[in-house]
Symmetry: C2
Subunit: 271 residues, 2 copies
């Protein structure tokens, strides 16, 4: 999916919402456990109920890998379902991969070609040759970790170099020379919304994927006020706050309502 | 596996050799393609031929994920084979994972409990809570990226802070407060063997996993001269140089000979 298509969808739905499919088999409604693939069934119902308000879906691969073969199958089924039923939505493999060049190429092949996600999250520590193979795939996106939303972000990402520039700022600046705002986005932690203005100095036109609105505690208003640009340039993720909002037979309906609530707040702040 | 068991195996085999099972289905001998699971069959024969000279095996997960379900199955079969036939060898899931705490916990579960690897490689960018869940699993190891062997290592890992300390040195120092030399190792690129003395100042007693001897061009002698400590403290990896050394029906025998050659060089330098 290219930038124009993504923006068209954002405008059509008046939404920046990304729903994180961090589906934990121990947390889904028990009546689903009788299905052949409970995790896929859960995802399918969540997607059906939330898609009118949602521009992107982001399964985190850890939740699938932790169930081995079965989990990988649930992931395959979920992305196939998204691509066949809702080809207009933007899909993100939240995989945080990164390795030497020939190995990153394998990951790029796995997530962007074979599974056919629109994008994949990538860790920056190993530098250019670990990121480039993802950027080289046509009409696909690399979402590089910039400033993450967790406590551990303070361990290394704020280290200042001799000129006072912080590591995550250096990551943004350097990565902007590898890709452009048509194939590269950045993960930017919402719990540091006061940092967003600063991040926009380093990535003025790139889309930012903002995790942590909801369970991780970021403020939607602050994020949109500080991070939004002319053509929006934001995908704002909520995972647990939506997918586990309901626990009964009507869990999907409850999730749909939650998504609609967030979408309505977004629409207010967008226009 | 604990440190004492690892060292006992190193002494018994007089070897520091880790064989990287970066098995690419497009590069294995064509006669294997008739097998039900050619990649597993290849790994099995390589393991059988090399194990007398090898203390560790390291499948890189990218090579398996790029083949989807089938690939994941080959990975499962390979680690099951290692654990059942050669329980004395140290196993490394070269996965370079790392995410927020609850998600890293899922990866730790996937690789260290479910697949039952002895260790997993982890990326440091997201800091303490992204690494701790791996360290918390009893008798298992976290192998954190310190200084990698690729060209992109120069993009961020050598950034100096205000006091002149480089990022990879800070990663080593900080990580040494999270784990100890009984549950934490570091990836240290062999192509920078001149840096090893310096790394030993920051991680004097930790095991180092050194990739890049062979195809990536590091010198074995330099690595061992600068990195070895009293109880060795090194695992030295070779992937392509061993597993693709032969291409005929006797590929495993050729790989075994290559492994033996390296082991003999190591034994000379160990004692």
């Amino acid at each position: 999916m290219n930038r124009q298509e993504l923006i068209a969808q954002i405008k059509a739905k008046k939404s920046l919402l990304c729903v994180g499919l961090d589906t934990d088999i121990n947390k889904i409604p028990t009546h689903l456990l009788d299905c052949a693939d409970p995790v896929f069934e859960f995802n399918k119902e969540i997607i059906d109920a939330t898609h009118p308000f949602t521009v992107a879906y982001k399964p985190n691969t850890a939740f699938y890998e932790s169930r081995g073969l079965e989990g990988w199958q649930s992931l395959e089924r979920s992305i196939e379902y998204l691509n066949s039923e809702y080809p207009e939505v933007f899909t993100i493999a939240d995989a945080k991969r990164g390795d030497i060049g020939n190995t990153s190429k394998m990951y790029a092949e796995a997530f962007l070609n074979q599974l056919d996600f629109d994008s994949v999250t990538v860790a920056p520590y190993m530098g250019e040759d670990s990121v480039k193979p993802f950027l080289e795939i046509q009409d696909k996106w690399t979402i590089l970790l910039g400033l993450t939303s967790n406590k551990g972000a303070f361990d290394f990402q704020f280290i200042k170099d001799e000129k006072g520039k912080m590591l995550h700022q250096e990551v943004l600046d350097v990565a902007c020379t590898w890709g452009n705002d048509e194939n590269l986005m950045f993960v930017t932690g919402a719990t540091k919304a006061d940092q967003l203005q600063n991040i926009r100095k380093h990535a003025p036109s790139h889309f930012l994927l903002v995790p942590g609105v909801g369970a991780q505690g970021g403020s939607l208003e602050e994020v949109m006020k500080n991070g939004m640009i002319e053509d929006f340039g934001l995908l704002i993720n909520s995972s647990r706050g939506i997918i586990y909002a309901g626990q009964g037979d009507n869990f999907a309906e409850v999730a749909g309502n939650k998504a609609q609530e967030l979408q309505a707040q977004m629409a207010d702040l967008m226009y």
